[in-house]
């Protein structure tokens, strides 16, 4: 039973991908991929319930025991992130289906669904994989799908951006493979559960070299400053649903891998100064970048870079409260960032431009879209009573409870960044979303495009897009409502991370408790 539950998130999207390549009618493919994601979502919830009550679960594929075969492991952290990620992936898929209906793009639709399913497979596999090499393969599946999605129907600009994105990701992937080879040469295994004790026996120099290489590799994948340069360059060029799913999932998988590997492979007791500096730099540099931007999507990409810093905040403290904060922040940010990019997509569709100074002169995108932007924007800035407030409060409490100059510096940077985020979001609100007297002279350029979008776009498609965005916004509110429950699970997941004993015994003994 648990074996089926563990295999399903990886197996089902791959099977769905195979079927969707058979050349079925479009409606059938759409239904199929939605059903696949819904089933995986239910499976994720079941895994979370099981992992929370019975501890980590492991599946040895093909019956090969842990150091030799492929092992899938689900503990509280991976099940939690899997559930949230698939939920967001489902919402974005509904949005994309709505957009496809509205814009009737036939050529790309055939590739979109299979590629999207590969992306979800890669994300699920990354959350569940129990060894370093399998993690590499999961990253590759996810990234290969993202290369296809980012260059789908690409014009010159998007090809250029896609090229930057692909070459950066490929370089980090090859470095990851180099790391796998070096770790295997040094420790004789790549199973995460075995690596902790084995790496501890190595000389300090080799150990730090491996730890730094791992940090650099995952730093590129998670867009940690100063390795973030590729992200604001490439993400904004893609269509809204693709940008949303990239922003929500890809970097978070990098953060998850960082959490998992650092706690299992290189456990430490004090504050991790290098990561703390990176976190402060990420928060400040990212948000200053966002303030300088005029393009809405690009601005949101910079806030993404900035808020990766919050996730590193908790990991840098390396205690239970800090890790709880990181886990809560990752969950909150997956939902909110996806919602923001989807709303940006809606606004760009309505106004015909993504440049803020042009939006300010054109007609506003409407009350509903404005509300759908306002709620996640406030949440991102950390205003109560939204999910961002809960996550940030946990992090700040962790920082103050930990004490010491580094922790206080982190907390101060986090507060400053929240304030600047609020400023950025207010700027976007006043120039793009707020209602204002219409000035037809300035909006002349935007109007024809808007009319075109309205005539060709089906009402049903737009309705689906709105529903998907509203669903994500409501999910963000639900996270804030269920904050107590989530904080409990998050805290237990953080304790699991700091005490990997059960994880190790489940993977190595092969008992499915």
């Amino acid at each position: 039973m648990t074996a089926a539950l563990l295999a399903l998130p990886v197996l089902l999207p791959v099977l769905g991908l195979g079927v969707s390549l058979l050349g079925l009618p479009r409606a059938l493919v759409r239904g199929l991929s939605s059903i696949v994601l819904a089933v995986v979502l239910a499976d994720g919830v079941a895994l979370l319930a099981l992992a929370d009550t019975r501890g980590p679960l492991a599946l040895h594929i093909g019956g090969w025991p842990a150091p030799l075969g492929i092992t899938l492991v689900a503990d509280r952290l991976s099940a939690l992130l899997l559930t949230v990620s698939v939920l967001v992936a489902l919402a974005v898929l509904v949005f994309a289906i709505g957009q496809g209906t509205a814009e009737e793009r036939r050529r790309s639709a055939e590739v979109f669904h299979p590629a999207y399913l590969v992306l979800v497979t890669g994300v699920s596999l990354a959350f569940l994989s129990g060894d370093l090499f399998n993690l590499f393969v999961a990253f590759e599946m996810m990234l290969a799908a993202s290369y296809v999605l980012i260059t789908l129907d690409a014009d010159g600009d998007r090809t250029r951006a896609g090229m930057t994105y692909m070459i950066t990701s490929l370089t980090s992937s090859l470095l990851f493979l180099t790391l796998v080879a070096l770790v295997y040469a040094a420790a004789g295994t790549v199973t995460l559960a075995q690596l902790g004790p084995r790496l501890a026996e190595l000389p300090d120099g080799i150990r730090s070299a491996l730890a730094l290489l791992l940090l650099a590799v995952l730093g590129i994948k998670a867009a940690i400053v100063p390795l973030h340069f590729w992200l604001p360059d490439s993400y904004p060029t893609a269509p809204a649903p693709i940008t949303a799913v990239f922003a929500a999932l890809l970097t978070k998988v990098g953060v998850y891998a960082l959490l998992r590997t650092q706690t299992l492979l290189f456990p430490r007791t004090g504050v991790w100064t290098v990561l703390a500096c990176a976190a402060i730099a990420a928060m400040i540099v990212g948000i200053l970048g966002a303030i300088a931007q005029d393009d809405l999507n690009r601005l949101l990409s910079f806030t993404l870079v900035s808020h990766i810093g919050f996730m590193l905040f908790g990991l840098a403290l390396f205690d239970t409260l800090g890790l709880t904060g990181t886990i809560l922040y990752v969950i909150h940010h997956i939902v909110v960032q996806a919602a923001l990019f989807l709303v940006a997509g809606l606004a760009v569709r309505r106004t015909g431009t993504a440049a803020l100074h042009r939006m300010a002169h054109g007609p506003p995108p409407g009350t509903l879209v404005a509300v759908l932007f306002g709620l996640p924007a406030l949440s991102l800035s950390g205003m109560p009573p939204f999910s961002g407030f809960v996550a940030k409060l946990t992090l700040l409490r962790a920082g103050v409870a930990h004490g010491g100059p580094t922790a206080y510096a982190l907390a101060a940077a986090a507060l400053l960044t929240s304030l600047l985020t609020l400023y950025t979001m207010t700027r976007v609100w006043t120039s793009a979303f707020a209602d204002r007297p219409s000035r037809p002279a300035g909006g002349a350029a935007a109007l024809p495009q808007r009319r075109a979008a309205e005539t060709t776009g089906g009402v049903r498609g737009t309705g689906l897009m709105l529903a998907a965005t509203a669903g994500l916004t409501v999910t963000g509110l639900a996270i804030a409502m269920c904050a107590g429950l989530l904080a409990g699970v998050g805290e237990r997941a953080a304790q699991d991370l700091l005490d990997p004993g059960p994880y190790r015994s489940v993977v190595l003994d092969g008992e499915e408790r």
């Binding site: 070096l182 790549v190 360059d233």
Partner: protein
């Protein structure tokens, strides 16, 4: 302590050095070739990680000391990695070709928005006018400049 083959170390190091050198070039074709070299270097490194060369992969009909048999795990990893790098290289070449067809040359271009922010002050000084839509007029031209 495992022994290390110096030849392999030099070859892997050379492939990494040339690969990264080529990836830092401006021409897309060189970048693709750099990626290929880097991929070969990494795959060789995986094989080297498995121990010294020349051990038999399979001993038929008898069990032997694991030290005398080749380690199958890095070989399996290297095979997987070769498939992945091969597939991605094919995609990269296709993308480079499309980029060449769209832009007529195979150079990596600057990012338009970055360039715009980089030259914001100069432009403000030279224009000093209220017409704010001007910078968007021809983004393609700015990018190639």
């Amino acid at each position: 302590m495992k022994t290390l083959d110096v030849t392999m170390a030099v070859v892997v190091g050379g492939l990494f050095a040339f690969g990264f050198y080529l990836m830092l070039q401006r021409s897309l074709m060189r970048i693709v070739l750099g990626f290929v070299l880097l991929g070969h270097g990494t795959n060789l490194l995986l094989l080297v990680a498995g121990g010294v060369a020349g051990r038999p992969p399979v001993l038929e009909g008898r069990t032997a000391d694991p030290e005398t048999v080749a380690d199958p795990l890095p070989q399996a990893m290297a095979l997987t990695a070769i498939v992945i790098t091969f597939g991605l290289t094919a995609f990269l070449v296709a993308l480079a070709h499309r980029s060449w067809r769209l832009s007529g040359h195979d150079e990596v271009r600057d990012d338009v928005e970055d360039r715009r922010i980089g030259t914001a002050r100069e432009r403000a000084e030279s224009e000093a006018g209220p017409n704010r839509d001007q910078p968007d007029a021809d983004p393609g031209r700015e990018g190639r400049r």
